[in-house]
Symmetry: C2
Subunit: 264 residues, 2 copies
DNA sequence: CGGAGTGTTGACCCCGTTCAAATTTGGTGG
DNA sequence: CCACCAAATTTGAACGGGGTCAACACTCCG
């Protein structure tokens, strides 16, 4: 197949951030401008490079403008566990808790561009923040990170390979949609299957077979680096086991209900 | 065997809290007294009762004085994943982030006694806290919770059953030692194997077999509800795969090094 | 053209699940 | 103190999900 490598939406890496932030709340003039200056100067990171190492003070946060970043831990025997992902619009190494330290290393999985977000950190730590809406968004992001981390536990602890991969793809889709990076049910996935496997606790080989399984079931399609979701209800059901409504009420509020998690 | 059921160190449930807190920092007079008043009035929770439900505002934190508490999520098909544990001395439903919501339900696994810790929350949210040392300890606890949650991901994602159980027991041991509840290498484990399995992502049956395995290898001993660690180096090696030093340097700082995590 | 990185496939096997049933433990009331 | 029952632990047998170890194909790049 010929090179259709519009691999990144690199047209304007800043657009994703703006779309993402205004998906959460409409920014007043001042704050929109503050955000735009913030992402005015971007720092590039090479694929595989460490943005912040484990144990470091979380006093130099970043805002991802393009590329994919993660938090990861390595076991003594060399195996790696990816803990969570940071996509364009996300805050990296950001903690409003003063004196907080990185519990794991932050690593840029692809080439990426990030903006130093120290201003956002200082803004949120102030009792009367200059940019209240931005502060609110930062707080929401911190909450979302916690939810994602807990979901990662459930994924790795209680779900089958098929369900894990489905849930992860759904997470990516839902998040990228907020920043306009997943138009028409498809998004660019610039990660190797090995990396996906490291996130979801599978071997590379089985990761590959599981994706094939999802393709065979016509739930997704993949071409080049593009993932297209063909059957959203099916994917939802796979990700959340919602196909089997055994327990009647009272469970919708649980975090495990994936549906409206990314629709603020 | 005759009833040797000194099941709980219920002699004085407050002692554990005090031991625990002074393990982190020596409290000045005022703060020690503040802590003692705080745990003056304890609220009992029944085994299995919900302390705070998922989605609720985290504005009513608790301090565990006795018993075991956890955070847990239930999947639509009824299976449960335990996310993390809270032992005597630990803060439950505590978040310094204003407006934070419970990402999962808090549940008392055993009968427990907790002290309302709203004062500690207000103390830490103040820019100039009345009790600086207590504030520091609360912050440390928040950091520890994050580390534990990430470790839980690695456990469920990358470790075998044998390693998971070993690591979890080691975590319990290390934490209980800080509050004086694990004298002479043994501690009371008031949880059923089903609950342990729900934490570590195993079936109840296999949880049972794995504990037998650990006993057979003379790593631990269990009698009644008491767990005794017979071979600490072996347990450390199992928990952290430290038996195979494949990767030379630079990894000690990773959070996965379990050794000194609970020796502040 | 060669080599590294990634995706794909096949064969084999073991770790952990599932489903039962048996056994032990603990609690409760007679 | 014993009978009784529910909960928890333990055991067995059979199955299958996922890991491991190869080899191979493809693309990208120097």
């Amino acid at each position: 197949m010929p090179a259709n490598k519009s691999r990144s939406s690199a047209a304007n890496p800043r657009l994703a951030v703006l779309t993402y932030f205004s998906a959460y709340a409409s920014l007043p003039q001042t704050e929109a401008e503050a955000l735009r200056t913030l992402i005015g100067r971007l720092t590039p990171f090479a694929a595989g490079s460490e943005i912040l190492s484990a144990g470091a003070l979380l006093d130099t946060p970043w805002l991802v403008a393009s590329g994919w970043v993660c938090r990861a831990t390595r076991l003594p025997d060399g195996r790696r566990q990816i803990l969570d992902f940071y996509l364009p619009g996300d805050l990296v190494a950001f903690s409003s808790r003063p004196g907080a330290k990185a519990a794991a290393a932050y690593i840029s999985l692809t080439r990426s561009e990030c903006a130093p977000a120290g201003d956002l950190l200082r803004n949120i730590q102030d009792a009367n923040p200059r940019w209240p809406v931005l502060a609110e968004i930062c707080r929401t992001q911190e909450q979302q990170i916690e939810i994602r981390v807990l979901q990662q536990i459930v994924r790795n602890g209680r779900q089958t390979a098929y369900e894990r991969v489905g849930h992860l793809l759904l997470e990516f889709y839902g998040r990228l949609r907020l920043s306009g990076l997943a138009p028409e049910g498809s998004f660019t996935l610039p990660l190797t299957q090995e990396i996906l496997a490291e996130a979801v606790g599978l071997s590379t080989v089985h990761m590959n077979r599981t994706m094939q399984h999802l393709r065979r079931d016509k739930v997704i399609r993949t071409e080049d680096g593009l993932v297209t979701i063909l059957n959203t209800p099916a994917l939802l059901s796979i990700a959340g086991r919602l196909g089997t409504p055994n327990q009647p009420g009272a469970l919708q509020r649980e975090i495990w209900a994936t549906q409206d998690l990314y629709a603020p």
